[in-house]
Amino acid sequence: MSVKAIIKVPFIGDSAVGKTSLIKTFLGERATYSTTTVGIDIYPLKKNNVEFVFWDFGGQIWFRKVIPELMQNASIIVAVFDLSRINTLMSIPEFWSKKILEICGKKTPVILVGNKLDIKNISDEIINDVVQRLKKEINLIDYVQTTIKDCNTVINLFNMIFAIILSDRGC
């Protein structure tokens, strides 16, 4: 059966928030928290005759000049922060949401992901304020919390991505 379309899904966020781990966990690959992504990695997956391509962006500051540009033509964006590092949450409204607006515009759907739920130490009040603000600035569809220690949280995230895209396409 031929593939109808290619859906680009960039995973963005600061370094070491767990972007690669989330993708690899969902795809059933071994995930560790310890290595950094150089540039980008691409992970294709076919579902319901649609090809999803997960773009795993290197989060290091050094790549910030080039990498965000690669978000263009995204069908949906997954913005990830680390629930144990407040600086990574702050980067979302301070840097990443601005890049989303600049490169993808206000219509592209975005899912905000708080990862490493097992070691969470950021208060819900602060997260909620950021979520409310992002909803005004970008097309933030939802906020979810994940941890690779509980695969169900990761599966829920990807099911949400599939549901948003596939329902939009009437699949």
Partner: protein, 269 residues
């Protein structure tokens, strides 16, 4: 196993080079440390390979009124201005630790991390890339790098006057170690898209040497990996490969990728 490694970067506040000797081991999570650098404070996070993952700057204030902050670790009282930006950061040096204060849309969050102090620049001003550029120009080195990325030659010629420096540089860059360098006249390949690496070289030639080499390493890895990704994607789905290439706005980079795909894999995108 504990290993000592060097971590280096340019301070984003005062632009001075910072070099740290850090101990790495098999820890999985990031190491976080605050650095009191002259009159400002930075937060760095690095991994088990001593790769710098994040670098965050904080404002320093010393005021006796404003919004009261009590350090959760030592109970010392500090103040930050009542009127702050919606997103703002302040840091306070509390001896053995730093109190990092985040203002996020009016709410306050804290971080407590160990602090070290650096008061003087520690790097000798040396950069092998600048030495090469001063002798033969950035186009010369850009031509070599572009040729290696596009055509993957096993041998490359380097002029006598620059031979040792090129040899030393290539030995210190992962992708370039496989190239054998022979003394001889090197002809700049003007038909190749040189603009990308020319800009890279110009950008890094005045950095501290460790940082410049690190950036060049990453830059070459990045381009080589992109070529590999495009080639793999093309085999699986040419439309996806085109989508990836179209996402790249930077024309000089695109030109290298296109040329490399043509020369190495006979792929036209």
């Amino acid at each position: 196993m504990v290993e000592k490694k060097m971590l280096f970067f340019n301070c984003p506040v005062c632009k001075k080079p910072v070099v740290l000797n850090v101990e790495t081991s098999d820890f999985q999570e990031l190491r976080r440390i605050a650095i009191k650098h002259f009159d400002h404070i930075l937060l760095i996070e690095y991994d088990m390979y001593a790769t710098l993952r994040t670098l965050t700057t904080f404002k320093s204030v010393n005021i006796n009124e404003g919004r009261k902050i009590i350090c959760p670790k030592c109970q010392r009282v500090e103040y930050i201005p009542i009127l702050t930006e919606e997103l703002d950061r302040y840091a306070f040096d509390h001896g053995d630790h730093a109190l990092l204060v985040y203002v996020i849309f009016g709410r306050i969050a804290y971080d407590i991390v160990d602090i070290i102090r650096i008061g003087k620049p520690t790097l000798p001003v040396k950069n092998i890339i600048r030495d090469i550029v001063e002798k033969v120009g950035s186009e010369y080195l850009a031509s070599m790098l572009t040729e290696i990325i596009i055509s993957g030659p096993k041998i490359i010629y380097a002029d006598e006057e620059i031979f040792h420096k090129i040899n030393e540089l290539f030995n210190r860059i992962r992708i370039l170690r496989r190239i054998q360098i022979i003394r001889g006249k090197y002809k700049i390949k003007e038909d190749l898209p040189l603009a990308y690496f020319k800009t890279v070289i110009e950008d890094i030639k005045n950095d501290p040497e460790y940082e410049a080499l690190d950036k060049l390493n990453k830059q070459l890895d990045f381009v080589e990996k992109l070529i590999g990704t495009l080639e793999k994607s093309f085999k699986e789905n040419p439309f996806r490969a085109k989508q990836i290439l179209d996402s790249i706005k930077e024309e000089p980079l695109k030109a290298i990728l296109r040329r490399a795909l043509e020369e190495k894999y006979s792929i036209t995108l």
